[in-house]
């Protein structure tokens, strides 16, 4: 069975390490904040200028001056700091953020990512995504394995305008976990009940499969 959004988020959270500074993109990556293990402490960076993002506020604590990068009302966690946008991107571009998790339309086997534009259809902008993929130490993409027409989003080469080149280290989809290295997707885990054959059939880019691919553990 393919994973639900929540299960993908749970698997993403397994990548979090104690003491890490992490930037989570909008959507599934943000959900992963719900599943941080109890025995670790991480700091979430929100690129509008907040390090130490807390939960959404209660009605009483809603403050128009306190938002996250998705423009949602938010709170500051204990130990948080707030700063300007240049400082925020100095952290990101200077390689100080340990992990970035973001969504994508496509990723290719060289680790290039397309996530911000569909020519003729969608003109919204890249926000901070290009800075994040150019700057973070470790970059994980979460997305559904195929689009709604069943086309693979893991390609030999991206077809949409790129967000960054050769920068993605890992992909977590609803079917599997891949490491991206040496010009190929290396299958490291599969979702419970999902066969290697199914993953192979739904992956358009070069795929490397070892003899024994474990199922994800939750």
């Amino acid at each position: 069975m393919s994973l639900s959004r929540e299960q993908i988020a749970m698997r993403v959270a397994q990548e979090f390490c104690d003491g890490h500074y992490i930037n989570l993109g909008i959507g599934i990556p943000t959900l992963a904040a719900n599943y941080v293990a109890d025995d670790i402490e991480v700091m979430l960076q929100s690129e509008n200028g907040l390090l130490g993002m807390g939960p959404y506020p209660t009605e009483e604590r809603v403050d128009a001056d306190m938002i996250n990068a998705g423009k949602e009302t938010v709170t500051a966690a204990t130990g948080a700091s707030i700063f300007n946008s240049a400082e925020s991107f100095a952290m990101i571009r200077g390689g100080h953020v340990d992990l970035t998790v973001l969504g994508a339309f496509e990723v290719d086997s060289n680790g290039s990512i397309a996530s911000w534009m569909i020519p003729g259809k969608l003109i919204k902008g890249m926000g901070g995504a290009m800075d994040l993929v150019a700057g973070a130490q470790n970059i994980i993409v979460t997305m559904t394995h195929a689009d709604k027409h069943g086309n693979s989003k893991l390609l030999e080469q991206c077809t949409l305008p790129l967000t960054g080149v050769n920068c993605i280290n890992k992909i977590i989809t609803d079917l599997a976990v891949f490491e991206v290295k040496e010009g190929a997707f290396h299958l490291v885990e599969r979702a419970p009940g999902v066969s290697v054959a199914e993953i192979q059939s739904k992956t358009a880019g070069k795929l490397v499969v070892s003899n024994d691919v474990p199922e994800m553990m939750f």
């Binding site: 998705g70 946008s85 902008g125 926000g127 290009m130 800075d131 960054g164």
Partner: protein, 237 residues
């Protein structure tokens, strides 16, 4: 306006000198920390052909979205413009030009512009449409593109408290692009929630030193919230 009293008493005085085809750099992220009254004044002046540099373009009917109503904006330099139906319509009709710029590059363009640095290299955007046509250079084996900085005829910013010198502080994430925008305007106009007596703000807590600020006006802010999400709406943490 004498000496270091930069406070003006009308929005007309605050935006005096703004003309057609000028470049205006605006602080704010989404609707957070935007100079609401100064934007409304630009709408009232009906200045045309403006280039607006701001991370976003407000929403329909509020913030910089107001300047779309009479097609006052010729060109928008932003990182994300997805909240605005009128914007999309004018863009598709060819009535509006947009230069989509990565958010960190945009912040750095303002910062560098205000600091007298004409351009800088960054890895952001290399190999993407953002890097097309730009000079590239390798440093320590990594590819970078040359990005030019931005300055404006005007900068319009919003702060929480200021004194008459223009020293000011921002509140929480309403800081965002305001400090960089403040440095990058030939004329920087600050709209502030509250004017305090000189000395009331500790010198060590000032975010933007008064040297960058030319005019100050006290505003009334609606502080509209774009996405109100409560802890009960979603189990985030």
């Amino acid at each position: 306006m004498a000496g270091f009293n930069k406070v003006v008493d009308s929005y007309e005085a605050a935006m005096a000198g703004l003309q057609d085809n000028m470049t205006v750099i605006a602080g704010g992220f989404g609707l957070c920390g935007i100079p609401e009254g100064l934007i409304a004044q630009i709408q009232k002046m009906n200045t045309k052909g403006l280039t607006i540099v701001s991370n976003n373009c407000g929403v329909d009917g509020f913030g910089l979205g107001l300047l779309l109503e009479e097609k006052q904006i010729k060109k928008m330099v932003s990182s994300y413009v997805g909240e605005n139906a009128l914007f999309e319509q004018q863009l598709l009709n060819g009535e509006l030009e947009v230069e989509l710029t990565p958010q960190g590059t945009l912040a750095e363009k303002m910062r560098a512009g205000g600091a007298g640095i004409p351009a800088f290299y960054t890895a952001t955007g290399f190999g993407t449409p953002v890097g097309e046509g730009k000079e590239t250079r390798k440093f320590n084996g990594r590819d970078y593109i040359l990005e030019e900085s931005i300055t404006g005829d005007f900068a319009i910013i919003k702060a929480y408290k200021a004194d008459r010198y223009g020293n000011c502080i921002y509140r929480y994430t309403a800081q965002n692009f305001n400090p960089m925008a403040a440095t990058a305007g030939k004329i920087t106009v600050l709209e502030v929630e509250e004017i305090v007596e000189p000395g009331e703000l500790s010198p060590s807590e000032i975010h933007t030193p008064g040297i960058y600020v030319d005019r100050i006006i006290v505003g009334n802010f609606e502080k509209r919230i774009e996405r109100k999400i409560l802890s009960s709406d979603n189990s985030n943490q």
